[in-house]
C-alpha cells in the first residue's frame, strides 16, 4: 500500500503555520491524494478552475444555513471545510474558466437581475483574490497556453484533453475543490497524467475513412470516447492533418462520450512522433477500426432525439468558438438573415470576441441577426431562447449534453447545415 509523503513546506501548510485557509486546502488535498493512492504532490504554477462561483442551489443552501457571504461558499464548498476561513490571495497563477452570464447581453440569456448581480459579485471576489478572469472553456485560445511538460491543475474536460494531447502539458481532470485548493497551495497530487509512464497510449484506433470536417472530427471523438472510456487512444490513418479547431472538437467529444483526458495522433501530437513512441513499452490492449459504418452509427446516435424539422434555435461555439470559426460563420451569413422563426447564438471567450469586433466580424454577425455571447453556453447556463423545442448544433459535445439537460430535441450537423437551418428555420442535412 502506498503512503503519501509530504515535504516540509507541505507539512507546514497542513499544520496550519501558513494560515487557516491554506491548512484547509492542504487537508482537502491530502484526503484526495490518499483516495487516489498518490505518493507525493507536484508543484503547479498554472491553475484553471471556478473558485468561489455559485449556482442558485448553492447560493440558497448556504443562505438557509446563515452562512451567507463570499468566503462561505469558498470555505464550505470549494475547500469542503466545516470551518469558515478568510480566503487569502491565490499563491500561484490561477484563472477562472467559464461561468456566470455574458457581462453585457445577460438579459438575452434570460438571467434575472439578482442572479446577474451575484455573478458580478463572485467575479469581483475572484479578481480580488488574483484570479485571472478568462471566463472561457478554451483558456488555450484566450491567453493561457501552457508549455510542453508544464504541470497544471485544470478543470474543464475539453481543456484538459487539449492541454495534455495537443500541447504536451500535464494535468489530470481536476475538479472544483482540487483547483481551489491548488490555488492556495500550488500543489496537486502527483498521479496519473503527471507521470510519464501513465501518458502512453493504451488503445489503437485505425481510422479507415477520410475524416476532414469539424463535424467529422467531432464524430470520431465521440466514437473514440465511447470505445476507450477513460483510457488513452492512439489514432492513425489516412486523414489530413487536423487544425486547432478540429482538435478542439475531437477532444471535447471524446471527453463527453467517455472520460478521455489524453490522446495521441501519430505524426501530429507532440508525444506521438511515431506509433512506437505513442505506446511506449506496452502494446495496445485493444484495436478498433473506424470506418463509414461506425461514423454512421455515431451520426445516428447524435441525432437520436431529432424528429421535428422546424428548428427554433441554432447554437454554435462549443467549446467556445475560435476566431477562425467566427470568420467562417460571418462568411456563411454574409448578406443573409436569420429566420424570424429561429435564433442563432454563438458562444466564445471575451478575448476572441474582442478580436472579432476589431475585425468587423461582430458587425457582420449582428447584421444577419446572430447574437455573439461570451462566458457561458446553453448547456452550462441552461439557457435557450424562450419556447425552444428543437435545436441544431455543430458540436458533438453539446449534442451529447443539451438534450439531457434541457429535454430539447437536437439535430447535429456541419456548421454550414446549422447556419442554413438558422436562415431557413428548417433542418436539412445529408447523412454522411
Amino acid at each position: 500500500m502506498s503512503t503519501l509523503h509530504l515535504t516540509d513546506a507541505e507539512q507546514r501548510m497542513l499544520d496550519g503555520r501558513d494560515g487557516k485557509a491554506r491548512q484547509k486546502a492542504m487537508e482537502l488535498l491530502v484526503r484526495y491524494a490518499e483516495a487516489l493512492g498518490a505518493e507525493r504532490f507536484v508543484d503547479t504554477r498554472n491553475v484553471a478552475g471556478v473558485p468561489g462561483s455559485a449556482n442558485p442551489f448553492l447560493q440558497n443552501y448556504y443562505k438557509d444555513k446563515n452562512r451567507d457571504g463570499l468566503d462561505a461558499i469558498f470555505s464550505h464548498f470549494d475547500l469542503d471545510s466545516d470551518e469558515l476561513v478568510d480566503v487569502p490571495q491565490a499563491v500561484v497563477p490561477t484563472f477562472h474558466l467559464q461561468g456566470g452570464a455574458d457581462p453585457t447581453a445577460w438579459q438575452t440569456l434570460g438571467v434575472k437581475v439578482e442572479v446577474f448581480r451575484n455573478h458580478q459579485e463572485r467575479e469581483a471576489f475572484a479578481a480580488q483574490h488574483d484570479v485571472g478572469i478568462l471566463k472561457t472553456c478554451t483558456p488555450y485560445l484566450a491567453g493561457n497556453v501552457p508549455a510542453k511538460g508544464e504541470h497544471l491543475a485544470w478543470m474543464e474536460s475539453s481543456a484538459v484533453i487539449y492541454a495534455n494531447s495537443v500541447l504536451g502539458a500535464r494535468t489530470n481532470t481536476e475538479g472544483r475543490e482540487s483547483t481551489s485548493a491548488a490555488m492556495l497551495t500550488g500543489k496537486i497530487p502527483d498521479w496519473g497524467l503527471h507521470q510519464t509512464e501513465h501518458r502512453f497510449g493504451t488503445h489503437r484506433i485505425d481510422v479507415d475513412l477520410d475524416v476532414s470536417t469539424v463535424m467529422e472530427w467531432g464524430m470520431l471523438g465521440y466514437f473514440v470516447g465511447d470505445m476507450v472510456q477513460e483510457r488513452i487512444p492512439v489514432l492513425q490513418g489516412r486523414f489530413a492533418r487536423p487544425d486547432i479547431v478540429r482538435l478542439k472538437h475531437f477532444g471535447a467529444a471524446a471527453s463527453s462520450s467517455g472520460g478521455v483526458e489524453m490522446y495521441h495522433i501519430v505524426g501530429v501530437t507532440p508525444e506521438a512522433a511515431t506509433l512506437e513512441m505513442a505506446f511506449g513499452p506496452k502494446p495496445p490492449v485493444e484495436v478498433f477500426r473506424y470506418g463509414r459504418q461506425e461514423q454512421q452509427r455515431v451520426y445516428d446516435r447524435l441525432n437520436a432525439t431529432g424528429t421535428d424539422s422546424d428548428v427554433d434555435y441554432v447554437m454554435l461555439g462549443c467549446p467556445h468558438a475560435a476566431i477562425e470559426q467566427l470568420r467562417e460563420a460571418a462568411q456563411l451569413l454574409d448578406g443573409k438573415k436569420v429566420s424570424g422563426n429561429c435564433h442563432l447564438w454563438i458562444f466564445t471567450s471575451r478575448a476572441v470576441k474582442s478580436q472579432a469586433r476589431d475585425e468587423g466580424i461582430t458587425k457582420t454577425l449582428g447584421d444577419a441577426g446572430a447574437v455573439l455571447l461570451t462566458d457561458t453556453c446553453s448547456a452550462f447556463a441552461q439557457a435557450v431562447p424562450p419556447g425552444t423545442k428543437v435545436v441544431a448544433l455543430d458540436s458533438a459535445k453539446q449534442a451529447h449534453y443539451l438534450p439531457a439537460i434541457l429535454g430539447v430535441q437536437a439535430w447535429f450537423g456541419t456548421t454550414r447545415e446549422c447556419i442554413n437551418a438558422a436562415v431557413t428555420g428548417r433542418w436539412s442535412a445529408d447523412r454522411p
Partner: protein, 145 residues
C-alpha cells in the same frame, strides 16, 4: 431454510467509514455535470442505462466515472441536498471519482481481488468498510430464502 450467503470482497480504502445499503449496479461509467440531477439524485444522461434511476441512499457499484470535470461538484451538491449514495464501490480509479468520493464523504473502496461487477447485483445488501477495504455482499436471492 438456508443461511444467507455472505461474500466478502477485499480492496483498497479510498475513503474511510462504514455504511450499508441496497446495491445499485451498473457496468457503465457514471456521468457527472450534464448527466445527473444532483438535487433529485437521479442520472439524466439520455443514453445511460440508469437514466431516471435514483442513487439516493444506495451503495453505488460501478465501473467508474466519466465526463465533465464538474463530477465532484455535482456529487458534492448531492451530499448537501441529501441525495448522495451511502457508499461507493468501483473498479477504475480516476481523479473525478476520487475527488467525488472525498467530498461526498462516503465510505469508498476500489482495487478488488475479484470484480465486484461479477458478484454484486442491483438489490443485494452491501456493507462497505472503507477503512479496512472490505465489502460484504448479502445476495438478495439468499436473504429472501
Amino acid at each position: 431454510m438456508t443461511v444467507a450467503a455472505t461474500i466478502v470482497l477485499r480492496g483498497r480504502k479510498v475513503v474511510g467509514g462504514r455504511a450499508e445499503g441496497e446495491a445499485l449496479v451498473t457496468r457503465q461509467t457514471i456521468p457527472g455535470w450534464g448527466g445527473v440531477n444532483p438535487v433529485q439524485g437521479v442520472i439524466t444522461e439520455t443514453q445511460h442505462e440508469l437514466r431516471g434511476v435514483s442513487f439516493k441512499d444506495k451503495v453505488l457499484v460501478c465501473r467508474g466515472a466519466k465526463g465533465s470535470s464538474g463530477w465532484s461538484a455535482m456529487y458534492h451538491t448531492a451530499r448537501l441536498a441529501g441525495t448522495a449514495p451511502k457508499a461507493l464501490v468501483f473498479n477504475e480509479m480516476t481523479t473525478k471519482i476520487a475527488l467525488g468520493a472525498v467530498v461526498m464523504r462516503i465510505p469508498s473502496v476500489t482495487d478488488f481481488d475479484r470484480d465486484p461487477l461479477d458478484i454484486i447485483e442491483t438489490g443485494d445488501w452491501v456493507i462497505v468498510d472503507g477503512d479496512r477495504g472490505l465489502v460484504e455482499v448479502v445476495k438478495r436471492s439468499a436473504s429472501r430464502s
